[in-house]
Amino acid sequence: MNRPAAPIRALIAEDEPVLGYALLQALQRLWPELAIGAVVENGVAAVREALAQRPDVLFLDIKMPGKTGLEAARELAEDWPDGTPFPLIVFVTAYDDYALQAFEQAAVDYVMKPVNDARLAQTVARLQARLAAHAARDGELERIVRQLSAILPAPAQQSPPPPRLTLIRAGVGNQIRLIPVAEVLYFEAADKYLNVVSTGGDVLIRTSLKELLPQLDPEQFWQIHRGTVVNLRFVQAAQRDEAGKLSLRLTGRSELLPVSRLFAHLFRQM
């Protein structure tokens, strides 16, 4: 077996301390050479530490405070710097949920809590094989992007769709401004608010993108980033910079809207 020379580095994200400790212990037992950089306890720290440490393997608990494991994986897929191989992600969960079933068919591995040594040994063997085959790793990011694009819209579709929104009501000072949805160029998430950029100017509304998205016409409004939804009517062109990053130019606007990896396929040539 030809092992890579540099040590394989891992990161564990698990919100329950006892379970994080259990996974750490089991991994040290089954894979002593693995260098575990940290055990973080929430989704926000998982994204932050993963981007900082650039581990080879990432164990992500599905249900975590801050961000779920799936949200963390999605954010990493969007923000992962080019040129560094994307980590192999192993999801950890106490209970089979629907999101995991989508992954079961794909190659991304997952382990069930309580982690069982025999099952974890299989995961370790699979990870080692994948890490040894460099070629397979190059496609890791594309693969996870494909999978995430396939499963992420699912939760919104579970409940019956709310009625279509035609007017945005925004409180400005002591009056309510009414902005026809058709005149909105794009929505941009800003912390707990949403910046509504329209032909008549910008306003902030106190709604999340997650709540708003199902109320918009999917033919007219496309999500292009986890924090951006654009009105196709105003899209003039999609362009790539030298680094290969895709962004949109809008009619009558100077700013460029970045398109994340997860949504780049929407703007491919015909």
Partner: protein
Amino acid sequence: MTATSSLAAPPSGPAVSRRRLLARRLPFDFAIVSVFNLAIALLLTYLVRVDSSFVENLVFSLCIGSLVWLIADGGRILLWGENSPPKLPFFVLLAVANSIGWYLGVGAATRLLGIPPGKFAITQVKSTSGFLIFFIVTCASITWFFWNRARLQQLMAEAATEKARAAAIAQQATQAQLQLLQAQIEPHMLFNTLATLQTLISIDAGRAQRMLEQLIHYLRATLSSSRAASTTLAQEFALMDAYLGLMSVRMGARLRYTLALPEELRALALPPMLLQPLVENAIRHGLEPHIDGGDIRVEARRDGAWLQLTVADTGLGLDPSGQAATAGGGVGLANVRERLQALYGGAARFSLSPNPAGGALARLDLPLSPPLAPPP
């Protein structure tokens, strides 16, 4: 035709039960028919004024009426049982019953009274067609009576079925509610707890032992309390202690909890599943998803004629629009409201508001008088 008739009268089983039905029905119906026959004899004698005496008329009407009825109604029960018969075959049956009943009835009556055969029909009735009309009208009336009675019985049976169905629906609703309560033991909660236990067994057996005791206490109370009518505040607080104990092993330093139950309130009766959903809600929607975790304080206080139960957490808090909070804790809280309505009518209050210290504050106000023991 063969197929239909074999469908209408399947072999053995139903035939036997129809025969039993016939035996059960006949004596009572015979009495009713006899009353009709008596009435007919009276009518013939005093209203139609036929030439024969009342006794003769009575014998005739009894013989003819009973035979017609026996063939018509007996045939109906044997052929169709309790079901309403198809119209055309039933009318054929009636026609047959009338003709045979008439023929045999007249024969029997003349023999009984010693009247020479042949004398009856011609001599005693002034107008043959008038008498025939009378006979047909009478038969029609009696048929109509029995037909309506059968319809009435059918309607009553339908009403009874409907009532049973309504009761079954109410039963199902209760069952569904119970299942809902039991579903509050989320698989996530259970499996995460078991996973923690499994790990603790190898690293800290004493702590694992305590955790297992708490889990057993929690499961037993949660799975059975919805059936018990009442519990005490002391029991309910002990249950919350077990639950929060479990959660604090799992959440580690992220969860801190306090339970405050004054000594004098310990023995107070309380319906189960009122406090628990509020505490579980605070954990599940307030503290567990909160990165920094927080504190939870469960407190019982007496305020004049009221018992005040509060669950205060310093977790994520309520959504500014109030939407996420109700969507997340919707089922549990709707359940609490429904139970309060069912147990106390409008007398109890429930509120969920922002906690001044951050997070959410759930508050129950229950009247102390009439005593908290809920109606059965």
